[in-house]
């Protein structure tokens, strides 16, 4: 099979999974009160509420001076809530596939923190914050590979020696240490290390070192003009590519790019630490398996230095398993983003989830929208991993 056929097949196979995920969210959405569904999926109305009935004059025929609310009736019709469940399901799936993920509410945790998001479509607001999350994910992925591969290989080569035991303890502690605790402690430690004055930003003398590490980008008062640059309008929306560091670099604002990147390093490390714990064992075991294979013995027998054997022969061949496991852990790793982004106050998609559940009228459009978005990211990552795997190991696509 050619690689591209494999890719297309893999993508087609994913569609039922996505529909299934949307069915789960649909089941949960159906459990919500009707008014809540109308608010979340049709957007908040400026004047009329979504109450089923509104008070009206005695002239109009109605019980107790109330009439059915036209906004409510209209909304119920538009969402198909008066139709049977399968039809509602079909409408919901259709909406989800066409990017109609509902609207941000008017007075929720999200709008309290980002006022301009009020009443906006969820997918648009998520689009503002997705690039940052992707940047953070890429950086964490890089750190994960940098940490997991050498340590895993080392502990396989030195099997059951102290270094292997140390790696084992490291991996367990990464699993058992809550990410928010590690993140907060690291934040505190670095704030205390950096001291009272800002060490990073040339425009920001006298700021607390806390603002140097807390938040996704330098605070407004640190900017020469006192406002964010135009390509980061209103603090969230970035224009040419959407990715804050890349944008800054394109505009020649090297300081801004560096600062934004530096703020990502500690969060990315915390994410990587938690994920490495899961990955390390698999890297070690797959390396152990490969080290016992015949071609490694041949390589050793023909007198290659041990370094070359481990690095070039065994290391590359044990990569397959590592990549597969990395894909499998991606769901867990991206599920940790709401926490990390809350600890460091980063403007990513995960932060939106945290915002939408902090205040009691929860922002259901945002919660479900970001869940679908995260699931799509996981699915996409799995496809990429599979394709990579097929590329590295032709037996997969031929078999």
């Amino acid at each position: 099979m050619r690689l591209w056929i494999y890719v297309v097949r893999r993508i087609l196979l994913v569609i039922p999974v996505v529909i299934g995920v949307m069915t789960i969210t649909f089941a949960l959405v159906s459990a919500l009160p009707v008014e809540q569904r109308l608010v979340s999926y049709l957007g908040p109305t400026p004047r009329l509420s979504y109450n089923p009935t509104v008070p009206c004059s005695k002239l109009v025929q109605g019980e107790n001076g109330t009439c059915p609310n036209p906004v409510y009736v209209n909304g119920v019709n538009r969402l198909g809530l008066n139709k049977p469940i399968p039809v509602q399901w079909a409408i919901y799936i259709g909406n989800s596939f066409t990017g109609n993920w509902g609207y941000v509410g008017n007075k929720t945790g999200v709008t309290q923190s980002i006022p301009i998001a009020a009443g906006q479509p969820v997918i648009k607001v998520l689009g503002w914050f997705l690039p940052y999350t992707l940047e953070l994910a890429a950086l964490s992925l890089l750190l994960i590979l940098i940490i997991a591969l050498p340590i895993g290989n080392l502990s396989a080569v030195n099997r059951n020696r102290p270094i292997d035991q140390a790696a084992r303890v490291l991996s367990f502690s990464g699993y058992a240490l809550p990410a928010f605790l590690l993140g907060s402690v690291l934040l505190m430690v670095f704030v205390l290390l950096l001291g009272g004055s800002s060490g990073l930003s040339p425009f920001c003398k006298g700021q607390s070192s806390y603002t140097d590490l807390y938040g996704s980008w330098p605070p407004v008062q640190c900017w020469p003009g006192g406002v964010y640059p135009s390509w980061l309008t209103a603090g969230q929306i970035s224009s040419p590519t959407g990715f804050p560091t890349i944008d800054a670099a394109l505009h020649g604002n090297w300081w801004f790019a560096a600062d934004t990147l530096i703020r990502m390093i500690i969060p990315a490390f915390v994410i990587a630490y938690g994920t490495v714990a899961l990955l390390l064992r698999f890297v070690r075991n797959s390396m152990l398996e490969v080290l016992n294979l015949d071609f490694v013995r041949t390589a050793r027998a023909k007198g290659l230095p041990e370094k070359a054997v481990v690095k070039k022969h065994a290391g590359r061949n044990s990569l397959n398993v590592t990549i597969t496991v990395l894909g499998l852990t991606f769901a867990g790793f991206i599920g940790g983003f709401p926490i990390i982004e809350s600890v460091f106050n980063l403007s990513g998609v995960g932060r939106m989830i945290a915002y939408s559940v902090t205040l009691t009228p929860y922002d259901f459009g945002m919660i479900f929208g970001s869940t679908i978005l995260f699931t799509l990211l996981v699915v996409a990552a799995n496809i990429i991993v599979d394709v990579l795997y097929a590329f590295l190991d032709p037996r997969v696509r031929l078999g």
């Binding site: 240490l177 505190m188 699931t375």
Partner: protein, 380 residues
């Protein structure tokens, strides 16, 4: 086998009877488990937690709501008006003046109610200190919370893992044994559940149902249910992969040949022989549940109706929330600017965090030892 037809005893009485094969396997597992130092350390900590669980029922504190302390602004002399003296005391008691600790106005304060406490020192014995609660400046005793929290945290974790494993094992056995369309359907459903990040699935389930549930016990049940929704697919997968191996075994063939029905084969032959890997996963997951609850509370979701609810995750999350740490930093910085001392209240989050960490790491050591002992290929 218990259901063997009663055969006349042919063995000579001298020969000691071998224990049943499963007891034998248990002894062998324990033999290998005992040689693993890390696993024994994990088991030791786990025994301590189980003792704590038992003790917590007799510990004199409310098990649903911890005693809160009030922060009051006393009129004791202070360096500047900026620094009113803040003391904590139990309602009805005289405020313990010598233990008052200076913090800026409007800032949350942390007080160790022991006589040895000194603001410039490293803090008192943390067992007496209070955990601070950001929104309303309510304080509660960390030690009480951690002891009483043992019941809630461990009950919830064991409840989640037991019910998740039960559902997962049932579905996994059915999928693995019958195969075909049943297998296909169950496995595709687990695929779907596994592709949603677990934490998010818990959050959306809780967000939909929590607002309408106010009673504490129903809320706890809801938390367990929300976690079970996330947890069963893992078990289903593990059991299925085991069943696929076991169902090809000779003894299953023999059972079939002697006319056993599907249900009996599943119950007596397949289930007992494919369940061990589930124990490993179960013991791992017991430690994860409090961590996840802590994470959900941390991002601002009020899982339990009370803020001073004794549950490990809740206590830990409250003690490290961003607002709390930020205000401590500000307090410390302005205090040092005015020449005052400042103690970073490390014990506030160190001990709750340590409890969570020890619980999770002990079960993971235990699970790892169990896996090594059960799997002949990993034995050293």
């Amino acid at each position: 086998m218990a259901d063997e037809p009663a055969l006349p005893e042919k063995r000579p009485a001298r020969v000691r009877r071998r224990p049943s094969p499963r007891i034998d396997q248990f002894r062998r597992t324990w033999y290998f488990f005992r040689r693993n130092t890390l696993a024994m350390v994990g088991l030791g900590i786990l025994v301590f937690f189980v003792c704590l669980f038992v003790v917590s029922f007799f510990y004199p504190a409310s098990s649903t709501e911890l005693t809160t302390y009030q922060a009051t602004n006393g009129s004791a002399p202070s360096p500047t008006a900026l620094y009113p003296e803040v003391c904590t005391y139990q309602s009805g008691e005289v405020p313990p003046a010598p233990n008052c600790y200076l913090t800026p106005d409007g800032m949350p304060s942390v007080i160790g109610p022991t006589d040895t406490f000194h603001p410039a020192g490293l803090g008192p014995l943390p067992f007496g200190s209070l955990t601070l609660n950001p929104p309303g400046q309510i304080f509660y005793d960390t030690f009480d919370g951690l002891v009483k929290g043992a019941q809630w945290s461990m009950t919830i974790s064991v409840g989640v893992v037991a019910s998740g494993a039960f559902i997962g094992i049932m579905l996994g056995v059915v999928a693995g044994y019958y195969g075909g369309i049943v297998d296909e359907v169950i496995m595709r459903v687990t695929d779907i559940f596994l592709s949603i990040p677990g934490l998010l699935l818990v959050i959306i389930t809780l967000a939909v149902f929590a607002p309408s549930i106010t009673s504490l016990w129903t809320r706890v049940g809801l938390v367990i249910a929300a976690f079970v929704v996330v947890w069963w697919p893992t078990y289903a997968r593990i059991v299925r992969s085991q069943v696929l191996v076991v169902r090809e075994a000779r003894y299953v063939e023999a059972a079939k040949a002697s006319g056993a029905k599907g249900g009996r084969i599943l119950r007596k032959h397949i289930l007992p022989n494919s369940i061990y890997p589930v124990f490993v996963q179960m013991s791992l997951d017991v430690g994860t549940v409090p961590l996840l609850i802590a994470a959900i509370v941390f991002i601002g979701f009020q899982v339990f109706p009370k803020l001073n609810f004794p549950e490990w995750g809740t206590i830990t999350a409250f003690s490290v929330q961003g607002a709390v740490l930020a205000s401590f930093i500000t307090a410390c910085q302005s205090a040092s600017a005015l020449g005052g001392g400042c103690t970073f209240p490390w014990w506030q989050f160190f001990f709750p965090g340590l409890t969570l960490f020890l619980f999770a790491i002990s079960v993971s050591f235990f699970a790892d030892g169990l896996r090594d002992a059960l799997d002949p290929r990993l034995r050293r």
